[in-house]
Symmetry: C2
Subunit: 208 residues, 2 copies
Amino acid sequence: MRLRNVKNKEEILNNNSYVVKDCFQYIGNWKNEFKNDSPIHLEIGVGKADFIINSAIENPDINFVGIEKSASILALATKKIPEGLSNLRLINIDATEVEKVFSKEIETLYLNFSDPWPKKRHARRRLTSKDFLDRYEKIFKNKKIIIQKTDNSILFESSLISFSQNGYIIKDISLDLHKKEDYHNIETEYERKFSAKGNKIYMVKVEK
Amino acid sequence: MRLRNVKNKEEILNNNSYVVKDCFQYIGNWKNEFKNDSPIHLEIGVGKADFIINSAIENPDINFVGIEKSASILALATKKIPEGLSNLRLINIDATEVEKVFSKEIETLYLNFSDPWPKKRHARRRLTSKDFLDRYEKIFKNKKIIIQKTDNSILFESSLISFSQNGYIIKDISLDLHKKEDYHNIETEYERKFSAKGNKIYMVKVEK
């Protein structure tokens, strides 16, 4: 996502109750932060956070944690969160740090319109590379579920290969999600924009 | 493929040296028919046979067997085969009969633009359904390789799920094969026609 520098981003994040500042102290104990035993779902790269906010609103019995590496984007996202959404937390960290923040407690991981890193020499940076799947091994609870959406065919192709070669089984897939029947789709802001341009949205749900 | 009745189809097939009439007698012993130990690749549903004829021409060290249920289509296909192609055989049987014709001797299976059977209630008829994958178990030698091409997203999606849920690993995949670099593609007649219309060609190579 294009970065726009938000001048007072640190102040915004520090003063927002949804943003967890000392996130590393909760590792393995996020249920204490949420004060319940509901399943915890994680989104890596929340962007403007439409997806995770609406997911949290629609699913009060699931706890949602979203991470975003850009403080500016996360600061913008916080402005959209309604009050009293007790099942939502946001963290300003990079994806490479997930294993320092979570341990055996995530049930579902969402990867929405992640940076495709289309050049071969950057393939390891894709959030579905083996390097990242190995990181996720440490944060998942028992059953490991990953749901990915993207409009980038290079990322989608390489993700399918990576999932398959690392033990994940495809449970559901769509090559044109917005035409898929019986699927309740919660759009991201990026998805709305690029779908309107005519881009097809790819989705895959895998499980291990 | 749309069927056009070829009146003298039986006569054409009976008189063509590439068409194996008593195919059931070779089960487990196709290398004797080819008189060598080259790997045997199978295409189910050869249609007008452009793919398998050109594959046989380009790969003299691989034996190619193609099956086609329509006698009319196979009769038309035979007209295109050049003389002296010793590594090609064609058979007029239905896909459900493969396990009666081959036993532990196929190394690679091609499924090109198979009937998509798009209705859910017909899903078992798709050549990548569990029913068919179970049949293929009996005809494959050791390593099982399936290479599928299609322009039908319903078939491609269900194939990916079926491969994944039946132990196949994705080795290569393309959501737009004609734009893929470093892939030597041998087109089918159907592929040429539908690609010219702007349809994207999907390809997946799986291995078990």
